[in-house]
C-alpha cells in the first residue's frame, strides 16, 4: 500500500503502527514535504488479510525485540506475533512446579522455531532439561536434545 500527498505530489512515509484494537490497525503516514499526517484505519477483514500472509506491517524488528518476542511467546495463538501487539497470553500452558531458565543464546535459537509451534518446543525442551537434571536451557542442552532424539 502506498499513499500520496496530493498537494505535494509526494509519497507519504509510514510513521507508526498502532496495536490492533478490536481487529483494527492504526497506521500513521506523513508527508515528508509538508508534514501532513493521515491515519489508515483497517477493518478486521483488512487486518486479517495481511495477517494471513505471515507478515507484519512496518519497520523491521530489532534483535532485542525479536528475542523478547521469543521469550514471551510461550503459549500464544499461531502467528500471533505477525502483527505487533496481537500476542495472546491467555493460552499459556500450566506452569511447571520448577521454573527453567533460558540463556540468551538458547532464547535466540528458540526464535528460529516458527511462532505456531514455539510454545510446544519450549515446553518440550524444558521437560528434557528437567529430566536431565538441569534447570537451565543453554546451547549444550539443545545440542544434547538433538543428539538424544537422533536429529
Amino acid at each position: 500500500m502506498k499513499f500520496l500527498c496530493v498537494p505535494c505530489d509526494s509519497p507519504m512515509k509510514l510513521q507508526t503502527v498502532g496495536p490492533p484494537e478490536r481487529g483494527s490497525l492504526s497506521i500513521v503516514y506523513s508527508c515528508p514535504e509538508c508534514g501532513y499526517e493521515i491515519a489508515m484505519l483497517t477493518n478486521a477483514y483488512e487486518t486479517q488479510a495481511v495477517q494471513s500472509l505471515g507478515v507484519r506491517i512496518g519497520p523491521e524488528k530489532s534483535v532485542a525485540e525479536a528475542s523478547a518476542d521469543a521469550g514471551s511467546a510461550a503459549g500464544g495463538c499461531p502467528f500471533s506475533a505477525m502483527i505487533p501487539g496481537t500476542q495472546d497470553s491467555q493460552r499459556r500452558e500450566a506452569p511447571d512446579p520448577v521454573p527453567v531458565r533460558w540463556t540468551a543464546a538458547a532464547e535466540a535459537r528458540l526464535a528460529n522455531v516458527p511462532e505456531f509451534v514455539r510454545p510446544m518446543a519450549r515446553a518440550g525442551i524444558e521437560r528434557f532439561a528437567r529430566d536431565n537434571g538441569s534447570l537451565e536451557v543453554d546451547e549444550k542442552i539443545l545440542d544434547a536434545a538433538r543428539e538424544f532424539f537422533g536429529m
Binding site: M1, D9, A49, F79, V113, M120
Partner: protein, 305 residues
C-alpha cells in the same frame, strides 16, 4: 499526479519485502532437495497418507534420503503413522531439526505437536469468517515450515497433500517456483466415484505445466491372509472414468498394514506379501519415472541404491 508505479518502494509497510524474504528462505531451505513429490488425489479417504509413508519407506530402503511433509494441516496423520507423535522440535543455530521415524525418514506433521483431540486453530481479527482467509493462512504456514526446518540434502521430499482437487492445484501453484523439481502422483481407489474425482484433479493439473507422473490404485482388492489371496473389494465396470495418466501400480488392502499405521510402526522391511510386493513395485516405478525425468541431473538416483 503520481501513480502507484511512479513511487519507488512500498511506503514503509514492507509487505512485499517480507514476502520476498520468505520466498528466498524457502528456496534456501529446499536448495538441497532433488525432487519434490506431491502425493495427492482430490478424493479423501483413498489412502494418500498411507501410501506416502510406505512408499517413502520403500524408497528409504533403497538408500535414498527421504523426508515427508504432512501438508494436511487440518487432518494430519503422518505423526501417528510414522511414530513421531509428541516429538520435540529442537532449534539449531539457524533451523529447526526434524523428527525422524525409526527408519530414518524425517517427518514434519502438525500431529507431532497438536493432540488428535484438538483442531488446528488460528486467531482471527475478522471474527471468524475463515472462508475469506483460511487458505492464505495455511499456505503462509506451509511457507514458514519449509523455511524454518532443516530439510538438508534429500533425494525426495514427499508432500502428503490434503484432499480437494482445488487444493491440489493450489499446491501446484505454491510449488511452481521449484519446477522442474516438482512432480505429482495421484492416488485413487477402484470405485467410479473416486476415479471421477481424481479425473477432475488430472484435468485441473493439466491446465498448467505440471508434471504428473501417474496414479496409484489403492485398495485394488483386499489381501486375505487365511487363503493367501487377493479378493475384489469393488465392482469394476467397463464404463469407469479413464485417467489419462500412467498407472504406476495397484496396491491391495491389507489389514496388517492398517494395524502398523495405527501403531506407528513403519514397514521398514516390507514383508513378502502381496501388499509389500505391490508397494515395492510402485516405489520402483516412481523411482524410474523420476529418474527418467531427471536424466540431466549430475547424480543418478540409481547410484544411491
Amino acid at each position: 499526479m503520481k501513480g502507484y508505479h511512479d513511487i519507488v518502494g512500498d511506503g514503509g509497510s514492507r509487505i512485499l519485502e517480507q514476502v520476498a524474504e520468505q520466498r528466498s528462505r524457502i528456496a534456501d531451505g529446499l536448495a538441497g532437495v532433488r525432487h519434490l513429490l506431491a502425493v495427492g488425489s482430490g478424493k479423501g479417504g483413498v489412502g494418500k497418507s498411507t501410501l506416502t509413508l510406505h512408499l517413502a519407506g520403500a524408497l528409504r530402503a533403497r538408500g535414498l534420503r527421504i523426508a515427508i511433509l504432512d501438508a494436511d494441516f487440518n487432518g494430519p496423520s503422518q505423526a501417528r503413522m510414522a511414530g513421531v507423535q509428541g516429538a520435540l522440535f529442537v532449534p539449531g543455530a539457524h533451523k529447526v531439526a526434524l523428527p525422524r521415524a525409526s527408519n530414518g525418514i524425517a517427518v514434519f506433521s502438525m500431529g507431532s505437536v497438536i493432540p488428535e483431540s484438538t483442531a488446528l486453530d488460528f486467531e482471527s481479527a475478522a471474527s471468524g469468517e475463515s472462508h475469506t482467509w483460511r487458505a492464505t493462512r495455511e499456505f503462509a504456514l506451509l511457507g514458514e515450515i519449509l523455511a524454518s526446518f532443516e530439510w538438508g540434502a534429500l533425494d525426495v521430499l514427499m508432500f502428503d497433500l490434503p484432499p480437494g482437487a482445488e487444493r491440489t492445484v493450489q499446491y501446484a501453484d505454491f510449488l511452481d517456483p521449484f519446477k522442474p523439481r516438482v512432480s505429482f502422483v495421484l492416488v485413487t481407489i477402484p470405485s467410479e466415484v473416486a476415479r471421477g474425482v481424481v479425473a477432475r484433479s488430472v484435468a485441473a493439473l493439466s491446465k498448467g505445466p505440471n508434471r504428473v507422473l501417474g496414479y496409484v490404485e489403492n485398495m485394488s482388492g483386499y489381501y486375505c491372509r487365511d487363503c493367501n489371496a487377493v479378493k475384489p473389494l469393488f465392482n469394476v465396470s467397463q464404463g469407469r472414468p479413464a485417467l489419462q495418466i500412467p498407472c504406476l501400480g495397484t496396491v491391495p488392502f491389507d489389514p496388517e498394514l492398517a494395524r502398523h499405521c495405527d501403531q506407528g510402526v513403519p514397514f521398514t522391511e516390507l514383508p513378502d506379501t502381496p501388499v509389500g510386493r505391490a508397494l515395492d513395485h510402485v516405489a520402483q516405478q516412481l523411482l524410474d519415472t523420476l529418474e527418467s525425468r531427471s536424466h540431466s541431473d549430475e547424480v543418478s538416483l540409481r547410484t544411491l541404491r
